[in-house]
Every structure is written in C-alpha cells, then in structure tokens.
Amino acid sequence: MSASPRDPAALPRLGWTLAALVLLWPLLQLAEFKPAALFEAGNLNAMGHFVAGFLPPETAPDFLALLGKATVETLAMATAGIALAVLLAVPLGLILTRSLSIARLGPGRGGWQGTLIRALARGVLAVLRGVPELVWALLFVRVFGLGAAAGVLALGITYGGMLGKVYGEILESGDARPVRTLLEAGSGRLAALCYGLLPNAARELVSYTVYRWECAVRASVVMGFVGAGGLGQLMDQSMKMLNGGEAASILATFLVLVLAADALSELLRRRLA
C-alpha cells in the first residue's frame, strides 16, 4: 500500500468554497455593508434618541382597547390569508412532488406529460410568490377598493406560492421508499401520499405553515397601506404622528403574537410526534 486513499471530493469542495467567497465579496461591497458605521459616536447617539422615543409604551385604556380590536382584526386577516394560501399550495405542491409520480415507476410511459405539468406548476408558483404581496394588494385594491379583502387576497396569493414550493420540497426530502412501495402495489397517488409520505412529513408541513401564519401576522403592516385596518394601520398612524409609545405597545403585541405562534407550533409538533 502506498499513500492513504485520497478523497476524490476534496478538490471540488475546496474549489466551490473559494468560488462562493469570491462571489460573496463583491456582493458585500455592492450592498455597502460597513458594520463599523454602527459604532460611530454620532450614529449611536441618533439611534439612542430614536429608541428612547419609544419609551415608555402607551398603556392608556382607550388606546389598549383600540390595540385589542386591531389585534383581533390582524389575526382574522392573517388566518384568512393563510387558509387561502393553503388551498392554493396543497394541489400545486402535490403536483411538484416527484415521488408521487406513477409514470416514474419503471419508468413507464407518459413521463414527459408529468414533467411538463410539474414545470407548469413550478412556473405558476414562481409567479405567485415572485410578485411582492404589496404589488398584489395594490392591484386588488382597484377591484375591491380599500379594505381587508384586497389584503387577504394578496397574502393568500404570495404565501400560496411560498407554501406550495416548500410543501413540494418537504414531501420530496423525506424517505421516498414507503410511498414508492405503495404506488408499486397499485395504490392511487392521494392514498399513497396519506399512508406513505404524511406520517413522516406532517410535522415539517405543520411547523412551516404555522411559521408562515406568523409571517402573515407581521405582514399585516402591508395591509395598513391598503387601508385594511388591523395592527398595520394602527402602526402607520402612530409612526406618522411620531408617537413612539404607541408604536412600542404595538411592537410588544407583535412579540406576544410571535411567541404564541411559536408555542402553537411546538404544541402541534409534539402532538404529531
């Protein structure tokens, strides 16, 4: 025996790492990323003043009543938006999932049709999530007028695109053998999905959906722009009137909602474990 066996993957790995660094450097330059500016005396002072403006948080009873009403509105819009997004995402995500393709067994005939349909679904999802929700909202405001409907629809479409893509990827990243075995024994796609893929993927699917719901709650700031009410509109008003105390209370509410979403996700994951 001569030298120890050389890892054939070592050289490519080094090459890709160097290539990534070479690409990253000009991007940081372009983005004018200069962290040192954070710690210059004048800047620190300015930030301190801005943050001090938020204290103390507003706790007047009539404002808290307003805040409570806005919170309920936001929750309603986020939930409606996510429900719409799930309705869009489930069929498109299932189309994307290659492990649910019967024509790929063997492989059999007609595989090109599946490839074409998957490419189409991928394209549809890219359009849905490629356009920012604000643009969708501005488009729908022209149909539904100012209000929650435009916001919910915009959220549903953008988040539908994101959920569909990730659903497809989660379903494909798990162990494909159980579902393939079921398809090979003549099972239909949906039954094979429920018996072969969901037992392993359900936790990931639920936790990503809850995380998106959390994002939708935050995205309600966008709803403020289209007059949909909720925390977004309240935030908009407080910031315009330079009322830092109110803004701080609203931010605290967001924080509570995020923690609640986290707890819900944890609870569901434990239930599905």
């Binding site: 019967i102 393939r180 024994a185 018996y195």
Partner: protein, 272 residues
Amino acid sequence: MGFTLEGVGLIHANGFRALRGVDLQVAPGERLALIGASGAGKTTLLRVIAASLRPGEGRVRLLDGEPWACSPGNLRRLRARIGLVHQSPPIPPRQRVVTAVLAGRLGQWPLWKSLASLVLPADPQGAQAELARLDLADRLYERCDRLSGGQLQRVALARVLYQKPDLLLADEPVSAMDPALSELTVALLNEEAVRRGVTLVASLHAVDLALRHFPRVVGVKDGAILFDLPAASVTEALLRELYAAEGGLPLAGSVAPDEAPTTPDLPPLRCA
C-alpha cells in the same frame, strides 16, 4: 398468476448492469426460490417481475399481458394483484401497525375508504388475523418505531398477506429474523401460496431454507441465471460455483437437531 421473462437485461441508471439475458418461465401456482450471492441481481429480478422496474432489453409477460404495453389504469390494476415483500420494511416509523397492514389493500380500496381508514381503521379484524399468523396479534395498535427489526419485517409481510396478491414476491423476507422464526416464516409463505393457489417467488440468502421449502430453485450469478432446477437436483458443485466469490455457503442452520442442513460439510458464512 404466472409470468414469462425472455432475454431480460437491465442496466441501472448508474451504469451498473444488474441483469443479462434472463429467461424464466413460471406457471401459475408454482413456488420458486432465488438464491445467489449478494449483489447477484436477485432484488432487481424481483422488481422486474413486480412490474416496478422496466428492463431495457427483452420481454416481460405477466398473466399473459405485457405490463409495459398496458394503459396506466390497467398497469395499476395489475400492480394491485402483485405483492412484494421488501427486504427492509418500507413503513413510516410513526405509523401504527394496523395502518401499515391495512395499507396492503390501497390498490383495491376506493380513495374514500382509504382516507376514512386513517381516521378509524376500516378492517382491524382482518389486519389482526394476518398479524396473528405471524405471532404479532397483540401489537395491532402499537407504533412501528416501537418494534424490533424482525417484528417490523413481519408487519411488512402481514401487509402483503393482507393484500392477498395473485403473485406473491418476497425479497429476503427473513433477513432480520432468527433461524427458528425464519423457518416458520418461510413455511408460512409457502403454506399461503399453496392454500390460495398463487405463485410464490422468494429470494433467500440462506441456501438450506430454499432447498428445504421450495420445489424449484433458481441460482442467480452476476445478473444471469446459473441454474434452474428442482430442489432435489441442485448439487453441491453447483452451489459451490454459485457462491464461489463468498468462500462458503450461507446457511440459516436447522431448527430441529435431527434435521441436518443439506450441505453439512461446507463452512457456513452465517452461523445461527
């Protein structure tokens, strides 16, 4: 369900040639064992017979029809009549035993019944009856990740028994079981095939198990068929040639002391 393979050859996607010029004719109700060293092509051959791998060369006829010329619907119906027991049980760990067994009939049940059975098992008695034959009746509502490897393998077997296929295929169905259980399980497969008059093809790592239980034994070497003989005509010289690369015969060992292995003077690869 009988089948015929004519000059079947298959090259895997990675360029490895798994089968070359395989001719095999099996009549309905026949029982045969595939033996051979690991990597010889037994699994690939079984998957070709199960209509889950399409060979690049040659012809496959299952029940007088060509699966790869069927419409998608007919191919699905054909596959529902074929049951393949996999070597490593393809069952999601979080699934309950009852669901894993009932999944055997997904090809026969309408979608609504399959989905309803996830909420409330549609036929727990049926699943329990198959599990009872494998001595697992008390594990009906257990989760599969609480089972040992051998128990999981029996759950996978119960699923295929519950499917009641016309063509029963098994890929090393006893690889995770101890010799006594292996013996019982292989006997059970044969008994099921005889009782229902269905065709049985099983690949086995242990030569003595194959020779004891199957009327017809097929030796597979380097992707081709080395011999295809009645069990009584399989000679020691043929077996030595079949396992030349492994340096000894893989045996399960016998359960009863009076029942000596067929080839006692060969060094076993795997001791009981």
